[in-house]
Symmetry: C2
Subunit: 437 residues, 2 copies
């Protein structure tokens, strides 16, 4: 087996982690692979900041062309993140017949289909294990280990920031804003946390998993996305009373040829494996026809865990290169000719159980009026908790309901009416409940 030369673009946290593994675990990799992975070049605009890694002389460069199109570089690692210039760089590398490893979920969610086509046309690999669930080998599992299965559903906790916030809110009864602030202080949340807490990052990852599961082109725009900002401590208390936990779930299901793909806060029974995933950890839960349920758990972010996934991709491609067998595994699990546009079910057409928290003025008629409107819209109530009124400084009471399975559009029609009632103080909180993942 021959040695393989690596060029890295983007020397941030993950880049430094990859360099650390390639330099410090060189022997361990070569003991497994039977050849060396040489880190030849690292391109970044900033090559003066100390990343705490001792690099051989001459590796760092500000000149991207020393990596992309350099015939000595076999594999390019893209770790700059974001859409541009990442897209341009990856495309140029692929067109130069360089295989690429990326951790960039936003890039793949938006430009994945074109980039995979470019990789195919140029006979090279574009691997992306680190783009979903960090160090957890979920791409390899879906592309290779589940090859004998039809996947029925894939659900995940794919954003460590959100899972940390929801775990702390649940455990400590704290507000979203307080916990977010702590998360930022601990480095678990960005200064601008929008991508995380609005569910966008999770949806990028779900777009990729959906495609891998159901042989569909990546279509981020078809994913229904809701974030976690509107959940209140009281919702965790009620969830507990119902025997549920609240998680930001990425859910993709294939039911009768229709795909549901959605990201939203979800109540799941506390016995479900996904309910047991706490703090910054990620997990992916797959239901497949032969394997049944399976779960994959680990660190979904962070310097070394993400770098572990990047290095696994490097070794896979190096093994492919060494036997002239690039394109060994189809990009999205299925042969290109089998990948179709997905037949997505709009969110209005899905069915779910719902948790509803009404902020009602403390009137005796409130329950009967809400129940009446729900009933008129075909929504059947499974249980009700009505808080005693007049506590604290609030003039409103919470009326909480768990519905039986209902259609989303019927629920929305009912809530439109209910939220206009003069006895309802503020918009109703809705959290979907999933009991059969």
């Amino acid at each position: 087996m021959k040695n393989i030369n690596i060029g890295l673009i983007g020397f941030g946290t993950i880049g430094a982690g990859v360099a650390k593994i390639l330099l410090e675990s060189r022997q361990g990799i070569s003991d497994r692979m039977g050849a060396e992975l040489n880190l030849n070049k690292i391109a970044d605009l900033d090559i003066t900041t100390d990343r705490g890694i001792k690099l051989p002389d001459g590796i760092l460069t500000t000149d991207i062309d020393q990596v992309i199109g350099n015939p000595e570089i076999d594999i390019v690692i893209e770790l700059i993140g974001g859409y541009e210039p990442a897209r341009t760089f990856v495309e140029r590398a692929l067109k130069n017949k360089q295989s690429v490893v990326t951790a960039n979920k936003a890039l793949l969610a938006k430009h994945g289909n074109e980039l995979f086509a470019t990789a195919r046309e140029n006979g090279v690999d574009l691997y992306y294990e680190a783009s979903v669930a960090g160090g957890i080998p979920i791409i390899k599992t879906m592309r290779e280990a589940l090859v004998g299965n039809q996947i029925n559903s894939v659900c995940g906790i794919l954003n460590g920031t959100c899972n940390y916030i929801l775990t702390k809110m649940g455990d400590e009864g704290a507000n979203f804003d307080e916990v977010l602030k702590t998360a930022q202080e601990l480095g678990y949340a960005e200064a601008d946390p929008t991508f995380d807490v609005e569910g966008i990052d999770t949806a990028h990852k779900l777009a990729i998993l959906t495609s891998l599961a159901f042989a569909t082109a990546i279509d981020y725009k078809k994913i229904h996305v809701e974030g976690i900002c509107n959940i209140k401590p009281v919702d965790f208390a009620f969830a507990r009373e119902f025997g549920y936990k609240i998680k930001l779930l990425a859910i993709a299901k294939n039911e009768g040829g229709y795909i549901e793909a959605r990201v939203h806060p979800t109540m799941i029974p506390k016995e479900h494996m996904l309910a047991k995933i706490d703090d910054v950890f990620n997990a992916v839960f797959i239901n497949a026809d032969a394997l049944g349920p399976s779960l994959y758990y680990g660190q979904g972010a962070g310097m070394m865990a993400t770098a572990s996934a990047v290095v696994a991709d490097l070794v896979d491609i190096a093994r492919n290169l060494n036997c002239n067998n690039l394109r060994r595994i189809p990009d999205l699990s299925f042969q290109d000719s089998k990948i179709m546009p997905g037949n997505y079910r709009p969110i209005s057409e899905i069915s779910s159980q719902y948790y509803l928290r009404f902020s009602a003025l403390d009137k005796t008629s409130v329950l009967s009026r809400i129940a009446g409107i729900l009933g008129d819209n075909g929504i059947s109530i499974a249980s009700v908790i009505q808080q005693g009124g007049g506590q604290g400084d609030s003039a409103t009471v919470a009326v909480v309901m768990q519905t039986h399975k209902a259609q989303e559009k019927n629920l929305r029609a009912a809530l439109n009416k209910i939220d206009q009632l003069e006895i309802i103080a503020s918009p109703t909180t809705v959290i979907r409940m999933e009991s059969d993942l």
Copy 2:
């Protein structure tokens, strides 16, 4: 890509599952692989019993030579189980340049080193995903996804029968014998459950995982094995009081170049992911230097889950065959030249925390005498629970202790003395407690 011909030996439950996937999910596999897996021959002594699978004519045979050595068969699946004739058949297939897929952990634990050598000498693959943790892709994960990591420890719940029994004993306060009977009625336990409940099956699997983790030859005899037959309902109650659960764990650690490999009932903190794995499910928990902690969960046995793993191996080998790249992944994760005899730490030299349950005659002096002997042997007590005496029909009381970390040999020396005291009614129950897996 060209089609690949498969021959199956052993048409039992798993064999029927594999046939079912290869026949009924033929399209799904070909959509991924870009070629067909043809099930050409199934050899079994019994070809008349209906396995509920509609097979094409002419597939079934009682003649092993229609599979082994048949130049039309590219890959042989061995699913007969046990040592012989499985060993002979696998060896013959490998020597005939046929790659082999097996689910046979007992075979690999005993003869794996020789069989892998034979595979190497003949330039073919011997894959074995289904041999450990059934459908969970733990072999692929350890051989491929963790390639950039040094593994510090791998721990698992690897036997569904034991995990079912321990879960029910914990939940229901039932006796081992009662729960075993239920498990047998449900088909979760064999009529002769020795291999399962004595920990032997788990140890076979741990022998394989230890080798994959630490680049050591497979050495089943070095694994310390204890089963679950002596655990009493009262131990679950005390475990709960300490905040622990009891699981039959397979534990392999590499500490300072010494390998500990042991299978025994273990108390683990209830917050640990492995404590959350219930019923017949399996899970493997790995601590690696880059990835950190990760867990892989699913069905560790059963017709279709195990067949899922077999088919994943078939597709992997088919992909290797199609680019003349057999031997792509080293058998035991590391290059053959790097695999050494392991430097195992004898059980007497390990350190652990211990749960000790003494059956004492209700004498006021019991605690001081036990504590004295423990102290003389350098064992320090972390906490004590002394049951009130004279309850029920028993003349003995339980004195339960949790020790600080102590050396096994010191503990055994102390217990040898304690169990001879006239105030001790029966041998002391010892369960190791692992808080830092």
